[in-house]
């Protein structure tokens, strides 16, 4: 079995099953939560019991507006900006977007969104974070 290099561009994030126009980086953070328990049988040595986990995604990119023909396939910085302001729940897919590849899917809230734009003839940037809603996250394989 030959090891497969998974290059950065392959790992991406979709919101509502749509590609994010201008997306440059996507990140995933899973933080397991533990409860410290000390039972009589532990003889004075506490143990950490797994409770659940929090999953967060981050994204950043350049301010490129989607084409009018891309409204069904793409989100862009302006549609995400609007979604962030309404606190709406969005579905997400994180991972490699190809059949047979492992993915993380679920529902999330946009917990953070920001934009930066300078005065030169360069594209602006946007970035944000999603926090997955507990019990909606599924680790699956794309069919």
């Amino acid at each position: 079995m030959v090891a497969i290099n998974v290059y950065g561009y392959l790992l991406t994030l979709k919101i509502g099953d749509k590609i994010i126009k201008g997306l440059e980086t996507a990140g995933l953070k899973i933080k397991p939560n533990y409860e410290t328990i000390l039972l009589k049988e532990d003889e004075g040595v506490p143990t950490d019991d797994f409770v659940d986990y929090d999953a967060e995604m981050s994204f950043s990119g350049r301010t490129i507006e989607r084409d009018s023909e891309e409204s069904t396939t793409h989100e862009d910085f302006e549609t995400i900006r609007e979604a962030a302001s309404t606190g709406s729940t969005v579905t997400f897919v994180y991972g490699r977007m190809a059949a047979g590849e492992k993915q993380v899917t679920g529902s999330a809230k946009i917990t953070d969104y920001s934009e930066d734009a300078g005065s030169e003839k360069k594209l602006g940037t946007f970035s944000g974070s999603l926090k997955a809603i507990k019990d909606t996250v599924v680790f699956s394989t794309q069919s």
Binding site: Y9, T12, I19, G22, L23, E24, R62, I64, K121
Partner: protein
Amino acid sequence: MISEAIQEALEEVIPNTYQTIGDEEITLPYCIHEERDTVERVKDGIAFYTWRVEIAIIHSTPDAAESLATQVISALEALEGETSHGTDIETVEYVGSEPGFDMNTREYLKLLNFEINTKNR
């Protein structure tokens, strides 16, 4: 290609315009330009190309070189939003200039720097 588009625009101002290197028998004033590109990638693929363009204007007096520099800046800025030689030019940004003087030839240099974003190469 962006080089042809720039060559055409510069020749309107300075007929003796060359890409990368000049002719040995060149007469004043003359101009040399060079372009280097960087690919700007997003997850979707290539978003655009950024070209760092250097234009050297050589003339017998600093005032004459400066006058040509002003015309060259206008000529290049006029390319913004145009399609020239198959290249879609989105933005043209004049970044700045540097003066120079060659003691041996007694020629004055005006080096102009631009950043140009194009949709394609």
